[in-house]
Subunit: 284 residues, 2 copies
């Protein structure tokens, strides 16, 4: 059963890369609810204001988004799908603006710093920090700026009726962000149409162990002994508890399969605490 | 033997949190060379323009800085010390400016977003994105702005002769960044004075394994069988090689101790590739 209409919460302005991830998962017509903070995104879903939430969980340059792992633990909203989006920075202007007129380009400093080669080749253009990538497109359009551009996703250009002057001006092409789609527990069975029927499944969990030599080795035995392969493992020190660690672990398999159930029962013997964050088809 | 005079490269403007880490490691009088990009930091050290480099490697909210792990692999500049700095955001103004006069506060958007409670309590103050935390202090001082503040480290206030109006206005106190001190290989024995003589040692390495069930489990046996405890483990998918992983691993022990040498010889049998990034006293 599908919900009446999908509406997805994400952090950022309309046209953020999270919206691109939501479209990749749920189609180009998905309705969205932009939120100021990640915590708001989780809260809106918990309250039932939306049918799902899309949050970034890791980036190939910047690492895991620990804040969202924390929210996943606290809000009990299961992961039901994943996808990866390549972070492509486009140079965007109002429809009537030419490249030769550009004197300033606005964007979030992280995006500006990922396009340093472009600015080195175009010293007449000043890098100008702004709050948000997509928000900088909104601003140049609304303010009618004719000597200014913005750096953001192609979805932002489309949403604000702007024009892409240059595609893919980022220095490094290997910049991907992985996103999770979350639902409320009662809706966890509602898979997006984008999921291939024969996709292999993954399961994500967090657990803690006391810090003793070999503690993680013994914990991983639970998976190795069932031939379950790992897709991610990461330790995170627990501040204030200098000898304890939280681990993020993804393995390949459905949580309800017998090997996975056996592995989790085995891990529960060894871990101080564990929680399954979701089991979902591997994403494109 | 000490180098004639310490001079440390870091990324960012004078007063960046990396400079705070450099002072914590090498004392308040350390000379510094601010650089625009992380790659420049490594390059200046490689060229011998500085005696060391200080780079962030992971943050408790934002995860590992993969870019610096990549540079560590490519530049062959060993880690010789580590330290952790709590990211404390101070509200900074020109010496003659009062809180009641403030209408705008400049900083990097990441820092502004870490102080949302402060802005919620002070709606008369506009959040204004700027390129850099420390750079925003420099700007309000140089431009003589009397209705504006900046959010940055206390070191930035000191360097630019500004005044701290409010200390620690960040929403979350548990925000720490871990930094490495790097040297050229011929200077790797030059430990900073801040290192305690009896500090336990750690060793950091990277390695790859083919993705097979139990591959990491077998790799970790190399350490568990010698009672070497892990301080960090993290997988990083290799883009374009969907079934291969790079692993970051820190273990407790000196690289030249017999158990560590045995563990590394054992790991070399199992890993496709490995590199020791450095062995150093555990930092405060």
């Amino acid at each position: 059963m599908k919900p009446k209409r999908e509406r997805i919460a994400f952090q950022g302005e309309r046209g953020a890369f999270s919206e691109e991830a939501a479209r990749k998962l749920l189609g180009p017509d998905v309705a969205v609810l932009p939120c100021a903070r990640f915590e708001d995104v989780f809260r809106r879903l918990k309250e039932g204001k939306v049918t799902g939430a899309v949050v970034p969980i890791e980036n190939t340059l910047a690492g895991s988004v620990h804040e969202n792992y924390d929210h996943l633990q606290h809000f009990d909203l299961p992961i039901v799908a994943e996808t990866s989006v390549r972070i492509v920075h486009s140079l965007i202007v109002r429809k009537d603006v030419k490249f030769s007129a550009l004197r300033r380009v606005f964007s979030h400093p992280v995006a500006l710093n990922q396009c340093l080669d472009f600015f080195a080749q175009n010293p007449q253009i000043e890098r100008t920090p702004f709050y948000d990538t997509a928000g900088s497109v909104k601003m140049i359009v609304e303010e009618g700026l004719r000597d200014s551009g913005a750096i953001a996703s192609r979805v932002a250009a489309e949403i604000y009726g702007a024009r892409i002057l240059r595609k893919s001006i980022e220095d490094v092409r290997q910049n991907f962000t992985r996103f999770f789609l979350l639902r409320r527990r009662k809706d966890a069975g509602l898979l997006p149409n984008s999921v291939a029927a024969d996709a292999p499944w993954k399961t994500s969990l967090v657990f803690t162990t006391r810090d003793a030599p070999g503690a993680l080795f013994r914990a991983l035995a639970a998976f190795a002994l069932r031939d379950l392969s790992l897709a991610k493992i990461e330790s995170r020190p627990l501040r204030g508890k200098p000898w304890e660690y939280l681990f993020y672990l993804d393995f390949r398999g459905r949580v309800d399969s017998p090997p996975a159930q056996n592995a989790l029962r085995h891990l529960a013997e060894l871990a101080d605490w564990m929680r399954v964050l979701g089991s979902y088809p591997q994403g494109a």
